[in-house]
Amino acid sequence: MEDPLVIAGRRLGSRLILGTGGASGLEPLKRAIVAAGTELVTVALRRVDPASEGSLVDLIADCGVSILPNTAGCFTAQQAVRTARMAREALETDWVKLEVIGDSDNLLPDAVELLAAAKTLVAEGFTVLPYTSDDPVLARRLADVGCAAVMPLGSPIGSGLGIRHPHNFAMIRDGVDIPMICDAGIGTASDAALAMELGCDAVLLASAVTRAADPSMMAAAMRQAVAAGRLAHLAGRIPRRDHAEASSAFAGMAEW
């Protein structure tokens, strides 16, 4: 069944977006990218390190996948906007995963700065995918200023706590027409499947794969979980009931 993810008019065959942070090296990362079957991977922008060996950009190109630069580490709209402009210049893409955090301990988004940066970047022609709180009102505001997707966190970055507020996810899903991507907090395959069952169009994860004991095996698990969750969402789950509903008819029972 062909079921592409479409963001800003671009079709992606995989609904799993892989973050490259946390991988122990370029070779394990490459194996994870291939196993995940992803078509889009995130990178951060940092000062050139003359001592670094191997090119992440070349590795990503070799894998035949596209780059989604992020603004990780930025605490203000100005920092994030400048980082996005640098990413566009360095990587020749106007897509950006917009990240503006407000707290170095919990890495939660700064809603005020995030919205300001999103407005500026949309006006400059960027395709903006904001990492956001699981706040249905903020998600709608981000959609209203022209973001190409909203990416609510399931739980704090790297925590592996899964989706703490599934009800918020459902409300965000109802509140915006643009793609909704679960970004951050995924710990294992069932978390990714739940995100998709709740109506997310895609899942973005990094640590769950890159810091797993066997990253490429976990990448394969995530690939299947995202696909299974998507199918289950489309198939339409049965309603939850307070009491049992027999699946075998009582009619025709023998009398013993």
């Binding site: 973050g19 490259t20 942070g21 946390g22 991988a23 990362l29 995130t42 990178v43 951060a44 922008l45 940092r46 000062r47 050139v48 390190d49 003359p50 670094s52 090119s55 992440l56 950009v57 780059i67 630069p69 992020n70 990780a72 400048r82 980082t83 402009r85 640098m86 990413a87 566009r88 210049e89 360095a90 990587l91 970055i157 790297g158 951050a184 973005l204 994860l205 990094a206 640590s207």
Partner: protein, 64 residues
């Protein structure tokens, strides 16, 4: 002339931006350069720098 290049002090006589970049990397692909916070496209790297300019040279690294 004293400059800041990727957070370090660099002393160069009447440098162009390209010469300041060359103190850090020979790469021309996959990098972006800003002077005092403003992105400078490669075509403009021949421009001269001024005393105290801050040059940032960034590239893609692993990140979620």
């Amino acid at each position: 002339m004293r400059l800041r290049v990727n957070g370090g002090d660099v002393e160069l006589p009447e440098p162009t931006l390209a010469e300041a970049v060359a103190t850090v990397t020979d790469a021309r692909r996959g990098i972006a350069v800003a002077v005092n916070g403003e992105v400078i496209p490669k075509a403009q790297w021949t421009r001269p720098l001024s005393e105290g300019d801050s040059v940032e040279i960034l590239t893609a690294t692993q990140g979620g």
